[in-house]
Amino acid sequence: MRTWVARQAWLIDFTVGSLARRKTKNLGLWLVYATLVFVLASVALYTQALRLEAAAVLAHSPEVIVQRLVAGRHDLIPPGYLERMGRIRGVQKREGRLWGYYYDPVLKANYTFMVPPDAGVARGTLVVGPALERERGLARENGISFRAYSGRLFSFTVADVLPAATELMSADLVLMHEEDFRAFFEYPAGHFTDIALSVANPREVRTVAAKVAAALPDSRPILREEVLRTYASILDWREGLVLAVLSGALLAFAILAWEKASGLSAEERREIGILKAVGWETGDVILMKFWEGALISGSAFLAGYLAAYLHVFRFGATLFEPVLKGWSVLYPRFELVPAIDGLQVATLFLLTVFPYTAAVLVPIWRAAVTDPDSVMRQ
């Protein structure tokens, strides 16, 4: 046992030495390799985190949203509509919501104006999302004016800024008082944008939706779980898109690394011959080269993954941001909650380290099983 350990130590010692002796080749390989892992891991970590973020944000949104359709298009909820729905078993709370989009010509961006359910915003004031705070340089107590679609100018003071924690969904949000909202958009009294229903038991959600549809034939219930699934598939699609765009470059990289790794220089062949002739077994040579491959790919994997982690969670994935995110013009800037998925790491590891090690070992194995007498003829 002690001998076995000592032997591994000698082999690793020798391996590190021979890595250093072929510095340029190995450093190049290492860089290509780490870049490969970096790109793949960045995309994977980022979409994974976005998925979690979307789920976390939607966790606070109502289970069912009821819209009214007129001629197949979303229309306002008229007065008395809520009452017509009647009491539905399983619905804990129902309320009409007020929200709308506003195009700001200054930023050339759309905001979402919204009346919070708990009437927490005083008349004449606004609570704005972090993107707005950033892009328009707003702070608490600042005044801001918006020209309504009617042409009238409305002035508000900023009462507060929303926390950055949920920025993905609230970046472009502007919260205001109900009467301000109705005046600004000239919303008829008693009308709402849609209806939110809270359903405590997730198994009742579909029954509730069916009952709503039966009671109000011109309505369309939207389930939270469906929205969630839509988000997830959009993210999957974007992830696929990025990978497709990058696949050419990644493949070129991979081939380069493969070729570099699997090509055995004359010098390396000579060395293997010498080692075998002086008494190394085929297994010793292969083990030594295995350590070489493991050291390069293992450390490059670690470095690439770590860089991807920092890139995504510290620097907001600056490189892929424009493609992977952006359902509003004002880009949310948020600290993603760091999340590492074990399965994801394992998959990435298997897809990168494993083929590399194989690429290194095959030619070595072929060189290592040749008869050692060839050294005599050099």
Binding site: A6, R7, G17, I274, A277, G279, V375
Partner: protein, 224 residues
């Protein structure tokens, strides 16, 4: 010590370029002697040496080491025997470039897993004995031909082999260095080691240090 009987070595067997390098060699090599294999180029000296040193296996015939038939052993056992019994000095020295002298000397011992201290001490003692103490940390490609050969000899001795094998050891040396090499061989003999070498250098084959000369021609043993 080593007994060869009916040895044949055929390269590229049953192909159009089939070549019989050795054809019916019967030879007994006594232990604790210096034996030289001589003969013209292409006569099969190196080939015979690879069979004796377990670097290759004969096409036909038997190789016995201390009475034990080793010609049929699988490669793993041959490697084991090679490592414990033989030390090799190659014609081109075959040192690993980029490594220091002492690292080269230690190479054959790695698979045996000695402790760091012990192996390092042994390697340094050997280098000192071959007057290379001050060159031990120099990279081998910076050494002169004679120094490289002495590093190769130290490497051959690191596992304390009973038999030292050398292929054309003086081919790359001038007369003075060749004589120094013969001196080292005599020391090895005095320690009780068996030495088998090939050479067509009269300085070697005619040396008083060499106990026996075996002449080869066209893959057969001929009278000298």
């Amino acid at each position: 010590m080593i007994e060869l009987s009916g040895i044949r070595k055929v390269f590229n067997q049953s192909r159009h370029n089939e070549y019989r390098a050795l054809d019916g060699i019967d030879l007994f090599l006594a232990g604790r002697q210096i034996t030289a294999l001589s003969g013209p180029s292409g006569s099969g000296k190196t080939t015979l040496l690879t069979l004796i040193g377990c670097l290759a296996r004969p096409t036909a015939g038997r190789v016995r080491l201390r009475g034990e038939d080793i010609s049929g052993l699988p490669e793993r056992f041959l490697t084991e025997i090679r490592r414990r019994t033989f030390g090799f000095v190659f014609q081109q020295f075959n040192l690993v470039r980029g490594l220091s002298a002492v690292d080269n000397v230690m190479l054959p011992a790695y698979p045996l897993g000695p402790t760091h201290r012990e192996l390092r001490d042994r390697a340094e003692a050997l280098l000192a004995r071959l007057h290379l103490a001050d060159r031990r940390d120099a990279r081998v490609e910076w050494l002169s031909g004679g120094e490289q050969q002495r590093v190769a000899i130290a490497r051959a001795l690191i596992n304390d082999p009973e038999i030292v094998i050398a292929d054309e050891p003086t081919a790359n040396l001038d007369t003075a260095l060749a004589k120094a090499f013969m001196g080292i061989l005599e020391e090895l003999h005095a320690e009780g080691r068996t030495v088998i070498l090939t050479s067509h250098d009269p300085l070697v084959t005619g040396s008083v240090a060499v106990h026996r000369v075996v002449a080869l021609r066209d893959g057969r043993i001929v009278p000298p």
